[in-house]
């Protein structure tokens, strides 16, 4: 395909080192070997002509960098106190903490294994819950055509594992924390999440990627989420990586009949960020709601590629992504809604709105619809532009000055996304992260 082999050959030697250092079940070793072979064939994607999924994002900075890898890293001086300041925090939340890709048992706090609910590291689950792990791991995030997913899978041996058993409602949110400490030399980590919500279960999961330092690093993350019949997952994803970080996140969600997946994703930081989310509505009556807010500045590049596949009838999807662009940053939105022939009575809405606040910023938006069923209601919309001058004029006529008026409009734009967050402690964290540092409008009227 239109992919180039990675220039950097160190992944192969990293792979060998890792294989020697850890012990895993045979099936998982096979998966890893297959993924490594696939990655070596695929390499990283290129933005060459014809590669629609990567049309606007050039991953050359990742491909040409050297990242150190060590499956047994130390905490780099991180303790519980420094963690509470760095990440969204509440003492009651269950917590799985990963420091530079390595599970930090002492920083984590897990619920009692009541009702068969499991919140553990993937390595632990491979021992205690091998059947369920084998059933789902690497079965949804396919790496056949995806270099980044293949690379992550080649290194999968630990990660976050959550299984909520049938008809159990987990009131307390589970927080999956991936901290990058910013080491002296560039490092690479392969965060991995497997989330299984069995029939009729309910849970809230927060997935945070945060940085403590300014160092250069690369997070190649993959998550798989499986919703059984009637299951409900409220998912929050915070990607607040360091200023020189690279982050490529691949998320796959599979939904059974009547299930409900709602997700709010927030993006800030990282010099090159990509979030590739695919939701498969594989059961009649399943619903997904995907919200997103990306705020870019400096020379950042954030690419969100959100794909929703309606495979069964009576499925509903709502997609609302919003961006605020400042500096010389660039934001890319690529979304597809695919409605299969069987998926009659589909109801899909897709929207991407961008506020461009700087003359040097660029936004590229490509919301696409592919529809093969006739009895459907599908729509999409995309906008890009500055704050509306008529609205500013109206506000000025009511006595606000330009500065206050434009600030209020930008605030309102961002606020709408943050208001989708139902978990109060997370919401206040996001408010301070986003709303207190909103870019200003700097043009003459």
């Amino acid at each position: 395909m239109t992919q180039a082999p990675a220039k950097n050959q160190s992944y192969r030697s990293d792979f060998r080192t890792a294989e020697q250092a850890t012990d895993s079940p045979a099936w998982l070793r096979d998966v890893r070997a297959e993924a490594m072979a696939r990655f070596e064939e695929l390499g990283f994607p290129t933005a060459r002509k014809g590669n629609e999924k990567w049309k606007y994002t050039n991953v050359a900075p990742i491909a040409r960098s050297e990242f150190g890898f060590d499956p047994k890293r130390d905490l780099n001086g991180l303790n519980a106190d420094s963690l509470t300041v760095a990440v969204p925090w509440h003492e009651t939340w269950h917590r799985l903490v990963f420091v530079d890709g390595v599970f930090a048992k002492d920083l984590s706090s897990r619920p009692e294994a009541a009702n068969g609910v499991r919140v553990s590291s993937l390595a632990e689950a491979l021992v205690s819950d091998n059947g369920a792990v084998q059933e789902h791991l690497a079965k949804h995030a396919l790496f056949e055509d995806d270099g980044f997913a293949a690379l992550n899978t080649a290194f999968v041996r630990d990660g976050a594992y959550v299984r909520v058993t049938s008809n159990v409602t987990l009131e307390t949110p589970i927080h999956l924390v991936f901290v990058s400490t910013g080491r002296a030399e560039p490092t690479v980590s392969y965060p991995r999440v497997l989330l299984v919500a069995e029939a009729g279960s309910r849970a809230t999961v927060i997935e945070s990627y945060v940085a403590l330092g300014d160092g250069e690093y690369f997070n190649d993350a993959v998550s798989e989420t499986v919703l059984g019949e009637g299951a409900e997952i409220e998912h929050y994803r915070l990607q607040a990586e360091g200023e020189s970080a690279f982050h490529v996140g691949t998320a796959r969600v599979v939904q059974a009949e009547g299930s409900n997946y709602s997700s709010s994703a927030f993006f800030k930081g990282s010099s090159l960020g990509r979030y590739d989310l695919s939701v498969l509505l594989d059961g009649p009556g399943s619903t997904c709601r995907l919200n997103g807010l990306y705020m870019t500045s400096g020379s950042q590049h954030q690419d969100n590629n959100i794909n929703i596949e309606h495979a069964k009838p009576h499925t509903t999807s709502r997609l609302y992504y919003k961006g605020i662009l400042d500096g010389k940053s660039r934001a890319v939105f690529g979304g597809t809604v695919l409605v299969r022939k069987e998926a009659q009575k589909t109801d899909a809405l897709q929207s991407d709105k961008n506020l461009v606040l700087s003359p040097d910023a660029e936004v590229d938006s490509k919301p696409a619809l592919f529809i093969y069923a006739d009895d459907v209601k599908c729509g999409h919309g995309a906008t890009a532009g500055n704050i509306d001058l008529d609205t500013v004029f109206y506000m000025r006529s009511r006595g606000l000055d330009v500065d206050a008026a434009s600030r209020l409009l930008i605030y309102g734009f961002a606020r709408e996304s943050i208001d989708t967050v139902r978990e109060q402690h997370l919401k206040s964290y996001l408010e301070s992260l986003f709303l207190e540092s909103l870019p200003k409008y700097r043009f003459e009227f």
Binding site: K49, G50, E52, K341, Q344, N354, V356, L357, S358, P359, D360, A361, E362, V363, D364, S365, K366, P367, A368, L369, F370, I371, Y372, A373, D374, D375, V376, K377, C378, G379, H380, G381, A382, T383, A384, G385, N386, F443
Partner: protein
């Protein structure tokens, strides 16, 4: 054509519903099959072209060779590889080998053929208010109303004549909007283009009648590669129509045209297309591959270019009439109805590139899919850093008829200027049961109700068409959908 004719494919040639599918029995002068430098030289020699034209063709041909088989692959269409060596690149009615002279000299068979298509070329019968350039296979056979146009200074003739009689204009503008290296098909066209229309409207002239080119493929296994160039000088206005049909064939035929429009200061070009190439039969056999590059450059301040297209024919349509909004305050418009049925595929849309200040573009695209067909709207709106105050509004609506077809919308929005305002909206649905129920309850048959709703769905586009075309377009929709609704 002003009278409302009832067209029915049912009464056409046997075995099909495509009533334009007849073949003319005329002797043709045909180039050997295949493509090589000699063919390019042969075409150029046949047309007695000056040296610079041949050089340009050869440059394009050599570039095309370098492209290998790099046909654009991003479009949402599927077709087996085209063998470019198994095609005829030049075919001209023998009697017309020296190009059109006077109308009296045209082969009566050709005249009759165009009569059957509803495009009479004879002086006494010709369409009132429309000057027609009739292109058969590779050459222009007649251009009507030449005298009248000459009086106001409008040049409207075949491309071959223009190269001979107005070389300075052709040399200045050809390839200035669509360079020979633009894309695979445009490059191929630049090498082997045979004829097409040329139009130049002098400063301040409002062209008194509509200009029209009617394209007809007749010979078997020929590709049609025409090239159209329209230049509207300062403050002028021209409305141009394009129509096309082809005989029914079991094999596919390639039509790779290039259209270039140039609008100088305050000029306006209105370009309307009624594309009705043979779409292939019900099982997807035969039909024209319509791979066309159309682009206009709104070069002057306050200029305007408007594309209106009704696409009902062709097995595959790959076409993106675009506007480069270069002059400050220039305007670009794109109005489109694309209808696909049976096994037809269409990947069509537009590209609006905003460069000048306060440039405005409007895109209204309506897609209708029926049978097993697939219809894709693909459009790009690009705002360059210089385009302060640029404005775009895009609306794409799709209508699905039946559960085996597909409707797709792929907009590309690229914004590099914060003072620009862009909006894109799209909806997809089927004909609403409630609306059908209401109309039937008022006494209309199910079929009539469907037509009425579909007609209403397209109305906004039809009204952009010149009067003669609007009635025809609405009929064409009906014919194309016969048997699929109700």
């Amino acid at each position: 054509m002003t009278e409302q004719r009832v067209i029915s494919r049912k009464t056409g040639v046997e075995d099909t519903d495509y009533k334009w599918g007849f073949e003319l029995d005329i002797e043709s002068d045909i180039a050997p099959r295949g493509l090589n430098e000699d063919i390019v030289r042969l075409i150029s020699a046949k047309k007695r072209e000056p040296e610079w034209m041949l050089e340009w063709r050869l440059k394009a041909y050599r570039h095309w060779l370098k492209l290998g088989s790099e046909e654009p692959k991003w479009a949402n269409v599927k077709f087996p590889p085209i063998d470019y060596q198994d095609m005829i690149y030049y075919a001209a009615p023998r009697s017309q080998a020296d190009g059109p002279k006077s109308l009296d000299e045209i082969d009566p068979e050709i005249l009759e053929g165009f009569n059957k298509l509803g495009i009479p070329l004879e002086e006494q019968k010709k369409l009132s208010g429309v000057a027609v350039d009739a292109v058969l296979d590779s050459v222009s056979v007649a251009t009507t109303y030449q005298e009248m146009l000459k009086k106001v200074g409008v040049i409207f003739c075949s491309m071959s004549e223009a190269v001979k009689n107005h070389p300075e204009l052709v040399q200045k503008y050809i390839g200035s909007v669509v360079p020979y290296s633009d894309n695979f098909y445009a490059t191929l066209n630049s090498a082997v283009f045979s004829d097409g229309s040329f139009c130049y409207v002098p400063p301040g002239v409002r062209c008194p009648i509509e200009l029209m080119t009617y394209f007809r493929i007749n010979e078997m296994d020929t590709g049609q590669f025409e090239r159209t160039l329209i230049i509207a000088d300062k403050g002028s206005y021209v409305s141009y129509l394009e129509g096309c049909t082809a005989p029914m064939r079991k094999t596919h035929q390639l039509h790779a045209a290039v259209v270039e429009l140039v609008a100088l200061d305050d000029a306006e070009i209105k370009y309307s297309t009624l594309q009705n190439w043979y779409p292939g039969d019900k099982d997807g056999n035969g039909g024209v591959y319509n791979f066309v590059t159309k682009r206009g450059k709104a070069q002057g301040r306050g200029s305007k270019i408007s594309w209106t297209q009704v696409e009902t024919g062709s097995a595959i349509t790959w076409k993106y009439p675009s506007v480069i909004l270069q002059g400050d305050d220039s305007v670009g418009e794109f109005y489109s109805v694309a209808l696909v049925n049976n096994h037809q595929q269409a990947d069509t849309g537009t590209k609006m590139t905003h460069i000048g200040k306060n440039t405005r573009s409007t895109i209204i695209a309506k897609g209708i899919s029926a049978g097993k067909a697939n219809n894709t709207y693909r459009g790009q709106v690009k705002i360059m850093p210089t385009a302060n105050g640029a404005r775009n509004f895009t609306q794409c609506d799709s209508l699905l008829i039946g559960d085996e077809c597909g409707a797709h919308t792929v907009p590309y929005i690229e914004v590099r200027n914060p003072t620009a305002q862009l909006e894109h909206e799209a909806t997809t649905s089927k004909v609403s049961d409630d609306q059908l129920f209401y109309l039937q309850q008022r006494g209309l048959s199910l079929e009539e109700s469907n037509y009425m709703i579909i007609n209403g769905f397209c109305r906004g586009i039809f009204k952009e068409l010149p009067f003669e075309f609007a009635a025809e377009a609405s009929q064409l929709m009906r014919v194309s959908l016969e048997g699929t609704v109700g």
